[in-house]
Symmetry: C2
Subunit: 215 residues, 2 copies
Amino acid sequence: MSWKRTPPDPSRGYHHGNLKEELVRAALGLIGEKGPNGFTFAEAARVAGVSPAAPYRHFRDKDALLADVATRGFQAFEAALARAWDQGRPDPETAFHRLGRAYLAFAHDEPAYYSAMFEAGVPLDASPELRAAADRAFQGLRSASEALIALLPAGKRPPALMMALHVWAMSHGVAALFGRADGGRRPLPMSAAELLEAGMLVYLQGLGLGRDKAG
Amino acid sequence: MSWKRTPPDPSRGYHHGNLKEELVRAALGLIGEKGPNGFTFAEAARVAGVSPAAPYRHFRDKDALLADVATRGFQAFEAALARAWDQGRPDPETAFHRLGRAYLAFAHDEPAYYSAMFEAGVPLDASPELRAAADRAFQGLRSASEALIALLPAGKRPPALMMALHVWAMSHGVAALFGRADGGRRPLPMSAAELLEAGMLVYLQGLGLGRDKAG
DNA sequence: TGTACATCAGTGAACGCGCGTTCACTGATGTAC
DNA sequence: TGTACATCAGTGAACGCGCGTTCACTGATGTAC
């Protein structure tokens, strides 16, 4: 586990040199381990191998660190979604299903980021950077929705914003309820990714975007 | 606010008489105010007007109290859903939309229950009662799904379990992302209830359950 | 190239706080006879 | 109906703990000249 307490490292010297990054990594590890509320400022310092007062050189307080983690999370999230969408290549439907898988993969592979973003109760206006990062991530979903909607005949196009919200809601719902292996949850007859993919297929069909029934 | 610290109440006497219920009410109030993790055992005792050791007569520990709250939440949730579904009267589609509204109304009106159930990290196997209550609530969604599916021609029926999971995921997604007025979230062009209703209409359409397009 | 000095990024000790939990206790209630 | 006694549901003081945060400090680094 790469985030564990950094060894005494006598070579480090008085100045850490990279403490801010290290604190973020520590916070991610702790959040992943104990949830966003089990995480404490003091323990992050301990994990980073530094006195409990040191973090205050880099973050106003605990909430500021959490907000920073959430911001980085949204940035990584947006990048992952953009990579998966790949500007809708080779065609919007294919790209869209890749997008859905990427959403779940992010929630699954980066549970600490995901809970800092959506479950820790960090208000979006904790910082302008946070809000901007969250907005950009949502714009990714919205652009993809627009590209799909453009395939429909002019009279039958739903509002792209609404579609994006639906996509987000179903993705988040699947991720939050079934996406993490937090013991004691409900066993499923299929993987979360398959469940989301199936749900999205039905939804797209409902919009009139079905692949021909044998797809 | 009815859950606030009970007044000294000199008429109470040494025995409280109804402490267990009062602790649950106190917990609900605190969870609603500060989230499921801001809540503390000691403060619940204080709010109930009782010494910090008293709750241990009724709950093994703090987690047991939380699990009890979640259990009651699922029971109330199941009852609300069953009431809305009303055995599919007058017809499954109408009843189904009522069900969706009831889901959101519960999340909105009982945010403390809802977060104890889904956001506090209480494991479902914390107690058999909790698991049973959660299962019954889910069964409600599943029965409704079955009734709707029965309207489809035999060859085109999706698995009811899958449909129930989709319904749940989208409902939870909408509720968690947009359903509560926790400042600093995203402003919407429509209410959460409308958003869910629209999403469900598209989904049902995708299954072949559309009301005739002019609905 | 050397030196003086400002600034930066740490230390470590201390604080007050509220928490969860335990303990021996006691007042009130219920029951057997 | 009255009484002795077991049980129940509280009290209140105490504990050890880890937290967030502050403070005066100091070692390392960067910069002006």
